[in-house]
Symmetry: C2
Subunit: 248 residues, 2 copies
């Protein structure tokens, strides 16, 4: 089910330097914090690490295919993947991009509903479904963090629906850039990395890849964004950019 993988057992106890177990990131329910934060405590991460297998995949590898029996769920620790469905017409709809601190692999009726494929090289943790459920049944606090994460994902999906519902291509691309910016805001100040292809972007936004290309060119021509290389953008005119995003 999984392609070629390099497996490192994560259960030889003590945490590694940069990696100390699966993580989740989400917006909290309550007031106060207004952006997504890491949800799990060190102990909770250790608890998950104990039943996890670390997996490294190169770019463009299929993690699992739609319809196959689901036995594991996955936690992204580094890299980007895409979750999609191929439609009868041959078109492909990307349902979500998966970044660090995201979970994927939640089944329906025992089978995965989407196909997941890496976009960049990805480091992730794999946990058997049965083991995870077992842990969750024992630890309500930990389970609650999953509830928060799922709620967060639901909102993201709803936002995605709103984006796709827009009529204008430039607006959709602008919203997409804004979304990516938040995921790569480690770089700071308008620098955005778009690891995925134009085709992936189009499939995510419900546009043709030509329309995405034209929209990007338009953003550049009007001086709102500059592209330094195909996968690196930079917001130049933040005010006009925000106006494009809001105008829907």
């Amino acid at each position: 089910m999984i392609g070629h993988t390099t497996r490192l057992r994560g259960n030889d106890n003590h945490m590694e330097s940069s990696e100390s177990g699966p993580t989740l990131r989400a917006m909290p329910f309550g007031p106060g914090v207004k952006e997504a934060v890491r949800l799990l405590t060190a102990e909770q991460r250790a608890q998950l690490l104990a039943i996890a297998t670390q997996v490294h995949l190169p770019a463009r590898m299929v993690v699992y295919r739609e319809g196959t029996a689901a036995d594991s769920i996955f936690f992204v620790s580094h890299g980007v993947a895409k979750s999609f469905r191929d439609l009868p017409s041959g078109k492909r709809r990307i349902v979500a991009f998966l970044f660090a601190d995201d979970v994927f692999g939640l089944a329906e009726a025992g089978h995965y509903v989407n196909t997941v494929q890496t976009v960049t090289p990805v480091a992730m943790y794999r946990i058997g479904l049965a083991e995870l459920i077992d842990v969750l049944h024992r630890d309500a606090r930990l389970e609650f963090q999953f509830l928060r994460k799922l709620t967060h994902e639901l909102r993201k999906s709803q936002r995605h629906t709103v984006i796709v519902g827009r009529r204008d291509a430039v607006g959709r691309v602008a919203m997409f850039l804004r979304m990516l910016e938040q995921h790569s805001h480690l770089h700071g100040n308008g620098r955005i990395t778009m690891p995925m292809t134009r085709s992936d972007t189009a499939n995510y936004l419900g546009l043709s890849l030509e329309a995405v290309s034209r929209a990007c060119r338009m953003l550049e021509r009007t001086g709102v964004v500059t592209f330094t290389g195909r996968h690196d953008a930079r917001i130049v005119d933040r005010a006009r950019f925000d106006r494009l995003v809001a105008r829907l």
Copy 2:
């Protein structure tokens, strides 16, 4: 925050004939069952009932508004509501329709993210957020059912995104009818009730209401569906209907 309501305390213990507390409906993770089922046991429902307030609302009432402080979550027991956001342009996007056994009111940073308004008269349970979290922290099994429900909602939202991503109006309307059919399959055999207006349907599908109207007329003219009254449809030619749904 809530409009005019008729409140019946749900915590005078013993269950009423038809209503014995909040419910959830979702597709299970594991194999076997292939459709959404009721998730909660009688004891779990009673447990929630103990902290719930029953609320009855007439049609077109706002339950809560986007951006207001979130202190409760709601369980629909009967009727239909819509969850939407009003966009800067004045357009409205309906993010979900809420049916019996659905939950709504999950907050983000202490505030509701969408506005919820009843479409038909709605009977529902209201539970204080603090009380619910308290119960969930005490009962991992119950909490797990919420996890299943949330996962189910995430899938529905993803499907919604795919629908909205379609280009053709008739296909989108057909998928919408199929969705409604599953929610009213109690009636059985192609009879579908559409409680919402054309305008609501349009806002849900990302179409203009004229486009929805034309699509319905088209479906009728080509003999795929018949409309007996504005809010009642019936699938006549199932084969061609399925082909319309699939052709995307």
